[in-house]
Amino acid sequence: MKTNIFGVVDIGAGSIRCQISEISKNSYAERRIRILEYIVFPLSIGEDTFLKKYITLDTVYKAAEIFKKIKLKFKEYDINGNYKAVCTSAVRDAENKHFFINHIRVKTGIELEIIDAEEELYIKYLGVSETLKGFKKLESKGVVLVNLSSGNVGINIRKNKISLFSSTLPYGALRIAQLFSDIEEKIKYRAYEQYINKLVLLLKKSRFEYDKINSVIGSDTSTGLLLEIFKPEENFFDIIDLANLYSRIKTVSASQISGELSINEYEAKIIKPVLYVYISIMKSVGAKKLYFSDQNFSDQLTRFYLAKTKEKKFNKKLIEYFFYYGKRYNLDEKHAKQVLIFSEKIRRSLKNILNVKPDERTALIGAAILHDVGYYTNINDHHEYSNKIIHSLNIPGLDREILENIGFCSLFHGSGERRALDAAYYKLSPERELTIKKIISILKIADALDASHMQLIKDITLEALDKLIKVTVVSSVTPFLEIKHFKLKSKDFLETFGIPIELCVKLDYE
């Protein structure tokens, strides 16, 4: 049995949580995660960020002290570099986030990384989908996953295994509490309600899918707090219980709430927004139950980072998403599929030369499917519109940087040289520039091979000769447009990989 010790640190708004897990695989390659340590270090980074927009020096120092203890814990289990320390909105939204990250690195050697809101939401979705009993059934009927954290609320609307809408909005419980901290306690709830009602209104107006939802699933520490209060025996909270509690405490001060509900001051401070966000979303979709998974974020992170190594499965899911979003913009599905098949074949056949990394492959898949999505808006400038549409997407689990790379590749996939004109492109690091060049080079070849959008070429084979890459294509008719585009677009390939690529057409007569 293979085992591995993995550490996860979740730097959240109200605490830093450290989880050390043992991962073992049995002879059937089934993974078992055993939590060895789970430690919560209370630290209100969010109070700083959401009120002052930066993390105070005092909090930075306190965090460094906590990380010294975490380092000791890592040493105890011989973790070495086998960990992920992840910052969410409290650090992500702070002006001095880089100072914070640098200070922790200098003082403890622990590397922190910021995950974007979409990725955070996706990780939580994965966690809920794995552990919430009956999730598949709920998802098939339409569900909204509400990830209500201290800083933001992540909304993910899903139906039939597909994410219909995903967005993160600044309606976190602590953020709301901080926003109206100057209002008298007795009437504060009215301010919360007005603000949260706006959120529901926005959701209703902006998404036509909203009426397809039947159930609400809550996640993050907000549901942890409700769990602590209600201690439900099943995996849901009843809206009547939530509403009763809300009406009982809405005019009461945080200190009284803390005493009455036996929760700490921080929790007492956020309980009113937490309750009202859930109640109002539930009411807006007519849901009677708020489902939850009792798996914590650290556990979800552990599972996510271990699962990420399974690229095949992840990319398969992504392909579904790319097509789903593409279809919304009248994507030429057949062309997209053809380009995807060809680009994958090029990548596989020339793997020793092209050396495509996992994230580059993801971007290549995305670009192969979505590069022409801009036709929906404008045929002539479709490259630009493709880029814009791709930028506007929120794809669960997909890094923003990868999505941006897909956008760049779509922008530059034409035969003309447009990179020189793009300011954003020149701000990229040399490494990222190379990534984009690699993807574009492959994408252009694959796109050229279906330049007519007619799928004239049935199959391709690639051969790496001594000083040449030979692409042999099989077609029933001479593919004039493809041959022409191939000539125009193969220049990038030579410039990027230093080897020319040539086309050889074999006609396949019936």
Partner: protein, 677 residues
């Protein structure tokens, strides 16, 4: 039901004095071998010293602060001090009588303890002139009107001298660095002398220019409670060190004089000790004993005659543990051991084995009271030197062991252990050890949970439970307990273990409430609790409520007990007994019938407010079937004991004097565990 009246609780101090009287009665018990009886006299005396240093000192502080309210037991602080004085005088008198009687009996066996007659022994000259005289510094104090500071429990002679019709007062403080007792063999007789006993014989030689008019031996007891002044102390180690040195200078709470003296002499000593000035002192703070002031030398009476001692006792190692690694056994099944029947070396060797085991990644343990040259401390230091992650949570505030603990802590730090000192406002009383091992790439944790200290000396004389388990949930939560104690966090979910001050009080309440609900529903309900002390109003009321509801409550409480059993309509269903025997009863065991799904727990916690609210205590359910059965056997033996048990009815303890009594639980349990295969 009788409502819980204002004074339906036994007073803590008086209940403790009752306990010490039961200890004293062991010295009077003809069934106990004579030299062992001497030891009980010494224990009684040492217990009283501690009682004055802490409890009486605390009451005196209340008096000084002008606090005069009656407590829930019906006493004001001055009233309770008066009652204490009265009872202590009576006990001291009894102690003296027993000592006299034992001395006479031993004399018939040619053993002379503190002989008073003139003896022609050159060796005494030798001892006095070569050992005692060079070590003492006699002082004439009447000239300077002020005596040097007399440290806590130091023996001193006050001597009134005369020269040319002028009276001079002098002081001889006995040094610490000489033997406690001198044994001289002559004419097939053993003579035992204390240094003060010898010095007294030569007192006129100490001041050659004067004649000795009067003299007496005295000692003072000082307040030894160690308050940590600020809750938020950054460096607990320095704070403790500071407090230890302050303790030596604290106020006097008792003066003992070894013989009747004149009023004039009494006034003089009070004047010198400055104990009349501020009005906090009463005449009853001065105790005239007619008796040696420090009986600790009785522990050093060593004779060859075996009949004077308990039958030699040899702790054993069960066959299934012999020559095998505890790791291998504990991985398959939990291990329950009973001290002192089972050899504590099983544990200390295992800890050493963990330190040397290449697969062990980390070792963590609490250290509350450990012994001189502790092998366990050595093993921890050794493990750290071998590069293991070793974390020792040292409780510096273990009363009277603070100084020793500071030394251990420094030693461990030097070896590279991570030493933490717990909390400034809570004592770490739980006794736990955790070894984390990597076995075939997999993490396996082993925990040792005990009711007793990691102390190889007391392990031979205290009864305690040792429990070793590799149960994953238990070990994981014990790991969290270390995280809690070492200041990582205080946010943990506790389900397998309960701990004070986090959730033990609620847990106990819940368990008792369930028995109450069962009794009210007409079903069998039973609670058996074996602890050292019970002293907490909430718990006492809860137990009264259980008794009133019809729950059968049996309690084996060695020491303080606030419960008054046998009060009509309140505590008729409650039985309380105290077992005082050869070994000090120290294991805490809790049993609840729990509707037939019996629950048995071991713990370091007594049912005292301090244990439930101000200490870190572990309360651990024994789930392993075999171990649970062993514990139930121990409980049963305690209940069946009729040879060493004192029964409490309201506030009076009575000793079972039935002639047909024959069940000694300590013997019975030892026979069981010593013969274990």
């Amino acid at each position: 039901m009788n409502s819980i009246g204002k004074y339906n609780y036994n007073n803590r101090e008086l209940s403790w004095l009752d306990f010490n009287e039961r200890v004293l009665m062991q010295a009077a018990d003809e069934a106990v071998p004579m030299c062992e009886r001497l030891k009980f006299l010494a224990i009684h005396c040492a217990n009283l010293d501690e009682f004055f240093m802490i409890r009486v000192a605390g009451l005196k502080d209340l008096v000084s602060a002008g606090y005069k309210e009656k407590d829930i037991y019906g006493f004001t602080p001055p009233e309770i001090l008066e009652e204490i004085s009265c009872r202590v005088n009576s006990q001291v008198k009894k102690n003296a009588e027993i000592f006299q009687s034992l001395s006479l009996k031993l004399s018939k066996l040619n053993i002379e303890i503190l002989p008073t007659e003139m003896l022609d022994m050159e060796i005494l000259d030798e001892i006095f002139y070569s050992e005692i005289s060079p070590a003492i510094t006699p002082l004439i104090i009447s000239e300077i009107e002020k005596i040097p500071f007399i440290f806590n429990l130091k023996l001193c002679f006050f001597v009134e001298l005369e020269n040319e019709n002028k009276v001079f007062d002098a002081l001889i403080i006995l040094p610490e660095n000489i033997k406690k007792v001198y044994k001289i063999k002559k004419s097939k007789k053993s003579y035992y002398f204390t240094p003060e006993n010898i010095l007294e014989r030569y007192i006129d030689k100490i001041f050659p220019a004067y004649s000795v008019k009067n003299y007496f031996l005295f000692r003072v007891t000082r307040n030894a409670d160690l308050p940590i002044k600020h809750e938020d102390i950054e460096d607990l180690l320095s704070s403790i060190e500071e407090n230890i040195s302050e303790r030596k200078w604290s106020n006097i709470v008792r003066v003992e004089i070894d013989r009747e003296i004149t009023d004039a002499l009494m006034n003089k000593i009070k004047h010198y000790l400055n104990i009349n000035v501020n009005g906090d002192y009463a005449d009853n703070d001065v105790y005239t004993t007619n008796h040696p002031l420090n009986l600790s030398f009785l522990f050093n009476i060593i004779e060859e005659n075996k009949s004077l001692y308990y039958k030699p006792f040899k702790s054993s190692i069960p066959d299934y543990l012999k020559n095998r690694s505890i790791f291998d056994i504990a991985k398959k099944k939990d291990i329950l051991l009973f001290r002192p029947c089972n050899d504590f070396k099983i544990i200390s060797k295992w800890i050493a084995e963990a330190g040397n085991d290449k697969n062990v990644l980390s070792i963590k343990m609490t250290l509350y009271r450990t012994d001189k040259n502790s092998k366990i401390v050595e093993a921890l230091a050794n493990a750290a030197l071998k590069g293991k992650h070793v974390c020792a949570v040292v409780e510096l505030k273990a009363r009277f062991d603070e100084e020793k603990n500071v030394k251990w802590a420094k030693k461990l730090e030097e070896a590279g252990c991570i030493v933490t000192y717990g909390f400034s406002d809570k004592k770490i009383h739980a006794k736990i050890f955790l070894a984390t091992r990597k076995e075939e790439g997999k993490i396996v944790r082993y925990a040792h949970i005990s009711t007793g200290n990691y102390n190889e000396y007391t392990a031979n004389i205290y009864t305690d439970i040792d429990y070793i388990t590799a149960e994953e949930e238990a070990c994981s939560e014990i790991s969290n307990m270390f995280n809690y104690m070492t200041g990582y966090s205080d946010i943990f979910k506790w389900s397998r273990i309960k701990l004070a001050p986090v959730n033990l009080r609620q847990t106990l309440s819940g368990l008792i409430d369930f028995e109450i609900s069962e009794a009210k529903a007409g079903r069998r309900a039973e609670i058996i609790i074996k602890v050292n002390s019970v002293f907490d109003a909430e718990i006492t009321d809860k137990i009264y409520a259980a008794g009133s509801a019809g729950v059968l409550v049996k309690m084996i409480i060695r020491g303080i007990c606030s419960i008054k059993p046998g009060i009509k309509d309140l505590s008729e269903n409650i039985e309380v007994k105290s077992i005082i025997g050869r070994f000090l009863e120290h294991a805490r065991i809790y049993y609840f019938y729990n509707g037939g799904k019996e629950k048995v727990f071991i713990s370091t916690a007594d049912l005292m407010t301090r244990n439930l609210d101000k200490r870190i205590e572990l309360f651990f359910e024994i789930k392993d079937h075999e171990s649970k059965k062993k514990l139930m056997d121990i409980i049963e033996c305690n209940i069946d004991d009729d040879l060493k048990s004192w029964l409490l009815r309201e506030d009076k303890y009575t000793f079972n004097t039935r002639e047909d009594s024959k069940f000694n639980c300590q013997e019975r349990i030892c026979n069981k565990f010593c013969g274990e295969k």
